[in-house]
């Protein structure tokens, strides 16, 4: 690994595989699928290798590649990875691989699909390893296009509306974020190199007023992506219409880009503004937790319920980030990872249910555990993981963000426990109605064959293992995040 530009390879690999997908002769779907799985596996293996070579104790960037690129616009070629980004990169490669496996039974437009999947992976991984503002933004936006097509092509009935809404809504946020990045450039060190900008910010060279303005601009971009209440309204629509794989990656990885942005850019570059707004941000996080859970409680559509649960869960991420304490940041990254794992699993499951019952209406789904015991049990498992049951990974992140929130904001953070209770309520209600219930006459009927296929079961296994393992023993994972989180918290002085 040493000597090789590991991160360039990491982000180039999916791109090359994507192009290779396009070059395959049309008509041979099987070959495309094999290539898709091989490609995503290769990326995953490479990620694991990087993870293995990553030295855990060091707080700084590793595998750094830095080069002049386009000096006219102040752009550098700067890649690097640290404890914040590594888990998210891992998440992105893992979920893409699982999505590729899950898509084994895709029948139409296979080539397009896998190309989009690879393109999506380029963006997802790129965002987390880019250390240049422009590269960051480019990867950030690259993600939109394949997702737009995934929703627009394989989506549900209102896919056109949903895809355009998704695109435009998130774009509004990100263009304003782009303005923020430009202001960082203009008022800062006249380069888009995020490391330089962070140094500049920590040296206190941004004026207070400047910091507030830039923070506001960046906030909008990140907030829409996370999504932070009240910028979350694109999420349910996008999720409900998106195909399974789209939902998995949307919830699993795309939402994390917002939280990551706060940690990577806002906090190190704008410590004053971050501190200034930290309470408001935390409050928004708490509101998101309670609000998302409250709205999820009466949803009639299974997928929409899970979508709102994302709003609630990402609220914890926001709370943790806002606290800017070690525990909060640790917890936020942990929670991002967990949410990716668990909600990804839930969306896979919703997809499987929909495929079998042709409905996502909670009222019409009954007796899953009696018809398909394995599916039912896994749904229950995922639900409990999602509602933050201790011993499963969701709890660890929630606890740590809550702890960080308490350290920073005191009792206000405590309000979020209402959200936890409500989360339990809507998941249990769903379980009671759909899974642990006898089938009735008017309930939807499972189309044969009901049993899970290997390509469906396989993606669930690693997700379940992670949910369990990280819940039982999070230390190895925390050891990766901790140095970076400690360094970040030190900037704010918490």
């Amino acid at each position: 690994m040493t000597g090789l530009p590991a991160l360039t390879i990491l982000v180039a690999m999916p791109l090359l595989f994507g192009v290779a997908t396009l070059l395959l002769p049309s008509g041979n779907d099987r070959a495309v699928k094999v290539l898709g799985i091989v490609g995503t596996s290769a990326v995953f293996v490479w990620t694991v290798l990087i993870m293995g070579a990553f030295s855990t104790g060091a707080p700084g960037m590793q595998f750094v590649e830095v080069r002049e690129w386009v000096p006219v616009i102040g752009m550098t070629y700067h890649l690097g990875i640290d404890g914040l980004s590594l888990p998210l990169v891992f998440l992105a490669s893992l979920l893409t691989l699982l999505c590729a496996i899950y898509s084994w039974r895709l029948k139409e437009q296979v080539k397009t699909f896998f190309f989009l999947l690879f393109l999506l992976q380029v963006g997802m991984i790129g965002v987390f390893i880019a250390l240049d503002g422009i590269m960051f933004y480019v990867f950030w936006e690259i993600v939109l296009v394949p997702m737009f097509f995934m929703i627009g092509i394989w989506g549900g009935e209102r896919r056109r509306y949903a895809s355009v809404k998704f695109f435009i809504y998130t774009l509004i946020g990100s263009v304003v974020m782009l303005l923020g990045l430009m202001l960082l450039y203009m008022w800062g060190p006249k380069t888009f190199d995020l490391v330089e900008i962070a140094k500049w910010g920590q040296a206190g060279k941004f004026g207070m007023q400047q910091q507030l303005w830039i923070y506001g601009c960046l906030f909008l971009g990140f907030a829409v992506k996370v999504p932070i209440f009240p910028f979350h309204t694109w999420l349910p629509d996008a999720h409900v219409e998106a195909p399974t794989v789209g939902s998995v990656l949307l919830a699993g990885v795309l939402l994390k880009m917002g939280g990551y942005g706060f940690l990577r850019i806002s906090l190190p570059a704008l410590p004053y503004a971050f501190k200034y707004f930290s309470f408001s941000l935390g409050l928004l996080g708490v509101i998101g937790i309670v609000y998302g859970a409250a709205v999820a409680l009466t949803q009639k559509d299974l997928k929409k319920m899970v979508a709102y649960s994302s709003v609630s869960h990402m609220g914890f991420v926001v709370l943790g980030i806002a606290s800017a304490t070690v525990a909060g940041i640790d917890g936020a990254v942990m929670q991002m990872f967990n949410h990716g794992i668990i909600t990804g699993m839930l969306f896979f499951l919703v997809g499987m249910i929909y495929e079998r019952y042709h409905t996502k209406e909670i009222a019409r789904l009954k007796g899953i555990v009696t018809t398909i015991p394995v599916l039912g049990v896994i749904v229950a498992f995922a639900s409990f993981a999602s509602l933050g049951l201790p011993a499963l990974s969701g709890f660890v992140g929630e606890f740590m963000t809550l702890f960080g929130g308490y350290q920073a904001f005191g009792w206000v953070a405590g309000i979020s426990v209402i959200g936890i209770v409500l989360t339990a309520a809507y998941f249990l209600r769903m379980l009671q109605q759909c899974v642990f219930s006898p089938p009735t006459e008017d309930s939807a009927i499972c189309e044969m064959p009901c049993e899970l296929r290997a390509t469906e079961f396989l993606p669930l296994v690693p997700l379940m293992s992670f949910a369990l393992f990280l819940g039982l023993y999070p230390q190895p994972f925390l050891a990766i995040i901790n140095p970076a989180a400690t360094a970040l918290a030190a900037i704010i002085g918490r």
Binding site: V70, V72, I73, V145, L171, L179, L183
Partner: protein, 477 residues
């Protein structure tokens, strides 16, 4: 020196010769008509090659020529290459349409207008600018009107002509006033001097002069209040010509504007600056919002053109070297994106309005065409990693860097609006790729091979500029 001049302007000489040859042959031997397109293409390719050679010998050939009336520099070279390549694409797109009928008129006029554009870009005084504009404009009036079947094309041409002439004359009066108040028409150094050297009366006259000048130039680039002709003409004219006039002339004039307004402009002439800012903002806002409501794709593209003009004006207002680089890059992006989009419309059929609904299910039935259109749309919308993003990014960054963050904000927000109508087409094209619950769109006749080549070239240009071209363009210039 003479030899140098011949060498330096050899591309234009080749084109002029080709033009003359085409006219003579066309008049004498009607059998040569089908070969006019070949001649044009060859001439363009040769001219491009020569332009490249000239650029390679920049150290000995760059400089002022013809009593400081024309300047050969990197901007001129840029113009030559861009106009030439765009010209090649347009010729390919017109290959069958104007292959035999009206061939002499069409290709002759076309070459003439290209020459006009080079004059505009290389010119160093107002007279050259005026001549260039007329040389460009007069052929395009006719080109719009030349159409095999469509009666409306002539009406459109007439409308374009009358309004265009009106704008030119008003601009001409503005030039006269400029001459009167400044005492010179040359902008080799700077047309607008430091205002402290001018008397109050002259400054007063200068205001009128500037207004008239911008009216004339704004008309050609379809800036906001001077754009009214463009939707009508775009919808009425023949598509390949519309593709041409929506891009290349705009590029030429934009470059000219950049040359005219010197460094003193942005600090010394606040009224002029605010005038341009107002025009830019209104163009972006108005163009994008009205485009959102259009159903006819060509009208939509016309309004999107208005909006893009607004974006280009941002660079002009910002001024400075980085803005120039940004502008040049954006112009390339805009040219290929817009040309490509019009070519797709051309490929979908000439006989009637192409509406957004016609794109329903295009991706399923004509995947390559849809892919190309998607490419152009996303580039125009400014989505990374396509070229459009870097173009817009560079523009907005230059605005921020020159202390105009709010202007950049307007640009960014209106970009989002623009995505609305671009995506409407994209989602129509791809909406029923898998689920087929939508009505069938329009059936398409076979797309001629030259047009296909043109499309492929445009796609390549869009992709290559985006992915690889950034350092090339932004770094080198």
């Amino acid at each position: 020196m003479y030899l140098n001049a011949w060498l330096a302007w050899s591309p234009e000489i080749v084109l002029t010769l080709a033009w003359a040859g085409m006219l003579v042959c066309g008049a004498l031997w009607p059998r040569t008509h089908p070969y006019m397109r070949h001649a044009t293409l060859a001439a363009l390719l040769i001219a491009l090659g020569l332009a490249g050679l000239v650029a390679a010998n920049a150290h000995s050939l760059y400089g002022l020529y013809f009593s400081e009336a024309a300047k050969l520099d990197s901007v001129t070279t840029f113009g030559r290459l861009l106009f030439g390549s765009a010209g090649v694409l347009v010729v390919l797109a017109s290959w069958d349409v104007h292959g035999e009928e009206n061939a002499v008129e069409f290709f002759g006029l076309f070459v003439l207008s290209l020459l006009g554009e080079v004059v505009i870009v290389s010119g160093q005084n107002l007279l050259m600018l005026f001549l260039g504009i007329e040389l460009l404009a007069l052929p395009t009036y006719a080109l719009i009107a030349i159409h095999k079947t469509r009666a409306r094309a002539i009406a459109a041409g007439l409308k374009y002509f009358l309004l265009g002439m009106f704008a030119s004359v008003v601009m001409l009066y503005g030039m006269a006033l400029l001459y009167g108040s400044l005492g010179t028409i040359s902008y080799v150094h700077a047309l607008f001097p430091d205002p402290s050297h001018l008397s109050a009366a002259r400054l007063g006259v200068l205001q009128f002069a500037f207004f008239f000048l911008i009216l004339g130039l704004g008309f050609k680039v379809t800036a906001f209040p001077f754009h009214f002709w463009s939707p009508d003409v775009y919808a009425g004219g023949s598509t390949q010509v519309v593709a041409y006039i929506s891009t290349v002339p705009k590029v030429a004039i934009m470059l000219a504007i950049f040359r005219i307004l010197g460094p003193a402009f942005s600090t010394g002439y606040p009224i002029a600056k605010w005038f341009l800012i107002a025009i830019a903002v209104l163009s972006m806002v108005y163009g994008n919002i009205v485009a959102l409501m259009q159903d006819d794709v060509r009208r939509m593209l016309a309004y999107s053109g208005v909006a893009n003009t607004g974006y280009m004006l941002i660079a002009i207002i910002a001024g400075g070297a980085d803005s120039q680089a940004a502008l040049l890059f954006f112009l390339v992006v805009y040219t290929f994106g817009n040309l490509g989009a019009f070519f797709v419309v051309l490929g979908m059929g000439e006989d009637r309005h192409i509406t957004i609904g016609d794109f329903d299910g295009l991706a399923r039935r004509y995947p390559v065409l849809a892919l190309a259109m998607g490419c152009f749309l996303f580039s125009l919308a400014g989505t990374p990693p396509l070229a459009g993003f870097f173009g817009k990014f560079a523009l907005f960054k230059s605005a921020v860097a020159h202390g105009l963050p709010l202007l950049a904000l307007v640009g960014l927000v209106t970009t989002v609006i623009s995505v609305g109508y671009y995506l409407k087409i994209a989602s129509n094209m791809y909406g029923d790729l898998v689920q087929r619950d939508l009505p069938e769109g329009r059936a398409i006749e076979r797309i001629p091979v030259p047009l296909r080549i043109a499309l492929v070239l445009a796609v390549t240009a869009t992709l290559v500029t985006g992915v690889l071209g950034i350092p090339l363009f932004l770094g080198a210039l």
